[in-house]
């Protein structure tokens, strides 16, 4: 996105926020609903620990930190690009043609036009709980750990964003693609909330490493907690999320380009 593109993006988002803020009651309810999503995600962790003392070798506080890291990352991604799932509506109705005749990137337009400001609720809630979770889990307050706490959710958000975009792209080939996308995005959130030690080898290889969900919360949480990986991974993996995010983003961008090219060659 160039600087002109970003200016346009900013104005579109601002207009969308103004538009939705007109309906105050409805906006407030949406905001509460968005917070509730975050609450339920974390509550499920608490419920689990009522019946088990530890999960995959990790105590409640530690898993709670992973869950909040994943939660904030997901909430940020959902806010930024979650509406890209509406791509299938655009493809089906032919509205994508109208998008293609404007001088902005297709993704820029799709994410800006349907932005859902209510999703801010989940982000704010997640950030607040993250601070609490980090202090309860006994994360040492050092410049490095603070930097890690800041960078990890952003890198995680990029990973989730990549998944949102890549799965939405399926709509270019197959219009009824909603469930696949949800499986990998919401499913990915559920996966990333827990230590990857609880999953079987196949699941772990596929989701944790191949897709990169282990870098959303698990490895950076180990670094924050100053714990060694029970699976024997090297300590630097805790600082790898930005690199993992770059790889996922690159892959998603590639898939997206192929998708747009396919649309233009089929006109489906």
């Amino acid at each position: 996105m160039g600087s002109a593109g970003f200016t346009a993006y900013r104005h579109i988002v601002a207009a969308q926020v103004r538009g939705q803020a007109q309906y105050r009651a409805s906006f407030a309810i949406d905001l509460v609903g968005s917070v509730m999503f975050g609450v339920i995600d974390l509550a499920s962790v608490l419920v689990l620990f009522r019946v088990v003392p530890a999960l995959g070798g990790f105590a409640l506080g530690e898993v709670f930190l992973m869950a909040t890291l994943a939660g904030v990352a997901f909430a940020l991604a959902d806010l930024a690009v979650g509406n890209v799932e509406r791509l299938r509506v655009y493809v089906r109705s032919g509205l994508l043609d109208a998008v293609l005749v404007r001088p902005l990137g297709v993704l820029t337009q799709l994410t800006a036009i349907d932005v859902a400001p209510r999703r801010v609720g989940r982000v704010v809630f997640g950030v607040a709980v993250l601070a609490l979770a980090a202090s309860r889990a006994g994360v040492a307050v050092t410049p490095l750990s603070l930097a890690l706490l800041l960078v990890t959710p952003i890198a995680g958000a990029v990973i989730f964003s990549g998944i949102f975009v890549a799965t939405a792209t399926v709509a270019f080939w197959w219009i009824e693609s909603g469930e696949i996308a949800n499986g990998l995005t919401y499913g990915g959130l559920n996966f990333a909330q827990y230590p990857i030690t609880i999953y079987g080898a196949i699941l772990r290889r596929l989701f944790a490493y191949a897709i990169g969900f282990a870098f959303v919360a698990y490895y950076p949480a180990l670094a924050l907690l100053d714990r060694a990986d029970p699976l024997g991974g090297p300590a630097w993996l805790g600082y790898a999320p930005p690199a993992a995010a770059a790889l996922v983003a690159g892959g998603a961008a590639l898939v997206w380009r192929i998708g747009v090219r396919h649309y233009r060659s089929t006109g489906s």
Binding site: T7, A8, H11, I12, G19, A98, V101, P103, S265, T266
Partner: protein
């Protein structure tokens, strides 16, 4: 300087046909089958054809939405798909079927956003908007969210939206579809004024031939992906022998039929007291016929019917055996 130039422009689609429980047979269909088109700056071009003739497909290739399967295409000197965003700043597009406006925002706010989307200087934007507000009478609904606008109001909004960045070419895909008579006239009058100014090239697809009669000096008819006519409306009439009609009401039936070169009787009604003649304009005039009729009968009433473009085009559409005779 030509603003649109295509050579052998083609577009194939692969159609999957069910052939058994899971098997699909694929078939390649040419929606646009070799179109050569040169459009000069300031032209107003009507692009018509039956459903599925390839009108929209052509338009999509010219605007960078769809990549061609073959041939060359240059619009404003650019390659549409490869240089999509650069081209988008120099063309305006109105799709009659889909809105370009933000559904939940008031029209005024959509226009303000488009200034940022296209990066238009504030002064230019204000000037063009003021012009459109006056010409299209937008003031009454400028603050209404787009979703609450009537179709006619929305279309006037769409036209404005497509012009705020001062495009060199305006593409209109069925801009009058579904509009009431008053809105149609408003849209046509606006486009006529815009075209008369000569700065904007207008390419229009339509099913409403009145749009063409009112607006376009040049008419392109395509059928099955090929151009079957490229020229003026008059040339179309001349080529397909469409003729003016003279309807006369007489006090008494003619004693003997009127015979003249270029004159044929099309219908005789009301016990022979109403006769419809078809006139070959190159050979005989309505005046000749009327003068000769008054010599032999008492004329009560006459009327002259202009050739009907719908008839011509319908005849063109039904010729399904390739290019017409030259």
């Amino acid at each position: 300087m030509s603003v649109i130039e295509t050579r052998g422009l083609r577009r194939d689609f692969t159609v999957r046909v069910k052939a058994g429980w899971l098997r699909r047979r694929t078939r390649v269909v040419a929606a646009v089958d070799g179109i050569d088109l040169t459009v000069e700056r300031g032209e107003m071009l009507g692009y018509i054809g039956p459903n599925g003739a390839g009108k929209s497909t052509t338009l999509k290739m010219l605007t960078g939405v769809l990549s061609p399967s073959g041939g060359q295409v240059r619009v404003c000197g650019l390659t549409p798909v490869a240089q999509r965003t650069r081209l988008a700043r120099r063309i305006g597009v109105v799709f009659g079927h889909r809105s370009q406006l933000w559904w939940d925002l008031p029209l005024a706010e959509s226009f303000a956003l488009l200034r940022h989307v296209y990066g238009v200087p504030a002064g230019d934007h204000a000037g063009r908007l003021a012009y459109a507000r006056r010409m299209l009478e937008l003031d009454a609904f400028l603050d209404t969210p787009v979703r609450q606008l009537s179709l006619g109001q929305r279309m006037r909004g769409e036209l404005t939206a497509a012009l705020l960045h001062g495009p060199e070419i305006l593409f209109l895909d069925e801009p009058t579809i579904g509009l009431d008579v008053v809105s149609k006239q408003a849209v046509r009058a606006f486009l006529a004024t815009l075209g008369a100014a000569g700065d904007t090239t207008i390419v229009l697809t339509t099913h409403d031939l009145a749009d063409i009669e009112r607006l376009c000096r040049r008419l392109i008819v395509i059928d099955q992906g090929r151009i079957v006519h490229d020229g003026s409306l008059d040339e179309l009439h001349a080529r397909y022998g469409s003729r003016r009609r003279l309807v006369v009401d007489l006090d008494e039936p003619l004693a003997a039929p009127l015979v003249a070169p270029g004159l044929t009787v099309e219908a005789v009604q009301a016990d022979g007291r109403r006769i419809t003649y078809a006139l070959d304009g190159a050979v005989v005039t309505a005046g000749d016929v009327v003068r000769r009729l008054t010599e032999v009968a008492a004329l009560r009433d006459i009327s002259v019917l202009e050739p009907d473009i719908e008839d011509v085009v319908a005849r063109l559409y039904t010729r399904r055996e390739g290019p017409p005779p030259r």
